[in-house]
């Protein structure tokens, strides 16, 4: 079962994971990561822009890679777009598999790729205005682990 989506409004990861678990009968394990907007000092909001022709197709291609690489039963990959506030969920990846290692590694794999290779641009709102967030060296190191 695959559920790969972009959402423009706040979502409840617990509700998504509950129905995802029900949809994968016979699973041996499920691993879930929920990322939230960090309450870093002075940050009022985070805005994510995407590019329709690339962003969701890119996430679907990432899901294809995960299914090819790991022994998976189901994959849930939800990413927010639009304006978010500290504490709001921004991403949720959940993998269902017969065995735990495939579920855990799938989530790690998908998160590293979502962070450093997915088509999202982020800017942060501070008291003095908006600032674009630049790529970090750590993101490239994270994705290199899977090469």
């Amino acid at each position: 079962m695959r559920d790969i989506r972009l959402l423009g409004d706040p979502f409840d990861p617990g509700a998504l994971i509950g129905s995802f678990m029900d949809a994968n009968r016979g699973l041996g394990g499920i691993c879930t990561f929920v990322g939230k907007v960090r309450g870093s000092e002075g940050a009022l909001a985070l805005e994510l822009t995407h590019y329709e022709p690339l962003t969701l197709p890119g996430m679907k291609a990432l899901a294809d890679q995960a299914f090819a690489r790991f022994d998976l039963m189901g994959l849930l990959m939800i990413h927010r777009i639009g304006k978010l506030h500290p504490g709001e969920p921004i991403v949720c990846v959940s993998a269902a598999a017969k065995h735990r290692r495939d579920a855990i590694d799938t989530v790690d794999f998908c998160m590293d790729h979502l962070k450093s290779a997915a088509w999202f641009w982020k800017r942060e709102q501070r008291a003095e205005g908006w600032h674009w967030i630049e790529p970090r060296a750590q993101d490239h190191a994270d994705i290199a682990r899977w090469k």
Binding site: T49, Y51, L54, P57, W119, W121, W132, E134, P135
Partner: protein, 80 residues
């Protein structure tokens, strides 16, 4: 009908808007000319990719578009 140029991320600020229409047909030199000095450095940066109709070009200098096509200027994506 025209060529639509979509500016993503910080390139939106450079362009002063989300998109701009240009007259076609257009090749790489034509795009560089049409977007002007503000984009010169960005267009030549290896970190800025270009997509045409949703396909990222392996070699952006091979760009060849006509009316009805959509070009996207893609700066590096933000990290975590």
């Amino acid at each position: 009908m025209a060529i639509r140029v979509v500016f993503l991320g910080s390139l939106r600020d450079v362009a002063g808007g989300d998109e701009r229409d240009l007259d076609g047909p257009l090749d790489w030199d034509g795009l560089v000319d049409a977007l002007g000095d503000a984009f010169l450095w960005h267009l030549h940066s290896a970190r800025v990719r270009i997509a045409v109709n949703g396909i990222v070009l392996a070699n952006k200098e091979a760009l060849a578009v006509c009316d009805g096509d959509e070009i996207a200027l893609l700066p590096p994506v933000s990290g975590g």
